[in-house]
Amino acid sequence: MKLIQAEKIAKGAEAVIFKGTFLQSPIAIKHRLPKSYRHPDIDNRIRLHRLRSEAKVMTNARKIGVSVPSLFGVDIEDHILIIESLEGKLLFEEMNSLPIDKLDPIFVNLGHQIGLLHSNDIIHGDLTVFNVLIQLEDKLSIIDFGLGKISNELEAKADDLLTFYSTLKAIQPASNILFNTFLEGYLSVYPEGKNTYEQMKKIQSRARYIAREDRLE
């Protein structure tokens, strides 16, 4: 009998995901493959760094009660994470099928989860609707912590909000309403998040201003 049985189910931006079972529990195996387009030294450095960050940040997030899959194992040499496999669709897919009133509670809950992360100085690093899995109704899990870190810097937290806002805006016309709903949830568990939001707006206007004149010096 094979200990692990797995089949490839998804290809993300960085990793290939295999799903299988290990001692009867469903697992996901996340394998970060080398990328042909970057220098092998850069590639190895990044993949190793992200593997370690993801394992650490996921573990910390779980400890403080944020909904993330549990971590079963790390194989540094082969760049592999073994994590709990979750049922459900990406938030991105749900946004194409669900009416806006069904999305509301999801965005409030997501706001709660991210507020909890930030109040504990945990940064996601790639906070987009492609990295949130929706299980039942408003039950969700946050995945893909490879760009995550532990940091109390305002700028890092603001970057999370800006990444979330920008991708949301790119894919969804009703993004402002949804972002505000998310923000309500975020601020309700993390009142200091006001400052994060202010900082996000600063980064945004800095980018805009630069777009106009300073990018050309």
């Binding site: 290809k11 993300g12 931006a13 960085e14 990328k35 042909s36 387009y37 970057r38 220098h39 030294d41 850069i42 450095r45 990044i46 991105f92 690093g125 790639d126 906070l127 987009t128 492609f130 760009l147 970057d159 800006l162 990444t163 920008s166 991708t167 805006k169 790119a170 894919i171 969804q172 016309p173 980064i203 800095r206 980018a207 805009r208 630069i210 777009a211 106009r212 004149e213 300073d214 990018r215 050309l216 010096e217």
Partner: protein
Amino acid sequence: MASTEPIILGLEGTAHTAGVAVIQGPQIHANESATYFPPQGGIHPREAATYLTKQFPILLKKIFQKLQFKPDKIDGIAFSQGPGLGPCLRTTATVARAISLKLNKPLLGVNHCIAHVELGRTITPANDPLVLYVSGGNTQLITFLNGRYRVLGETLDIAIGNALDSLGREMNLPHPGGPHIEKRAQQGKNLLLLPYTIKGMSFSFSGMVTAAKKLIANHSTSDICYSFQEYTFAILAEATERALSCTKKGSVLLTGGVAANVHLQNIIKLVAKEQESLFYVVPRNLAGDNGVMIAFAGTHLLKTGEIIPIQKSQVKPRWRTDQVQVGWIS
């Protein structure tokens, strides 16, 4: 002239390049441009505008001499209405308005960034690509979604072209530094350590320039050029791959001045392959700012009736890619 396509005059002038072209459908009847290179330092908006003011009459004269038909055959005057440097935009708009009045032809206000995209859609087989737009003043990942061109990721500070030029200046390479860095990089052997940061699908380059400048005292120019390209292009590549994987677009289009960099082309080609997508790049001679792209985009505006009256033709220095109504794609 058997073609039933409208004939469009395009005027580009958002920064340091004055470009004038006449096109008809995908055919380029005439194309002229001139670029201002400041003696030292970066571009000063006023000086660039003065340069454009001098160049436009010269370029227009050349264009009209080349045409096999009279200027009154032109069906529309397209100009770069934004985004860009205010003084440059105003100069260009003034020239466009004058020609529009003189020939009594409609005025078409084109978004410069979208023009780079439309250029690729006109002269390469790319139809609905994910676009990596890399130039001196902009670096964006753009794609068409929900009726508009959306920016999926972009630089949060300086553009890649500006980053290359500014590092080049510090190493005393001739301006613009980009092409010289590309050449020197080919002799580089040692990968030096630089920061690698990516924020979702966005990125920033000014910290990397600062880090690279610190290496100048102790390392060879070619190693610095090599390392700087490897790192910055890897970041652009990764952001592109992320965007491609999210949108499942199936093709990538590389456009803008820095698209002329062959090493970047090869890297993005590999990214496309990773995501089982096709790769397209605009031809080298049309990668940088030019009148052709403005005229191509203007053709769409004329066809959808998006003509602007002179009194509403004020320039838009901060016009964002996702603010443009795109009536020509369904």
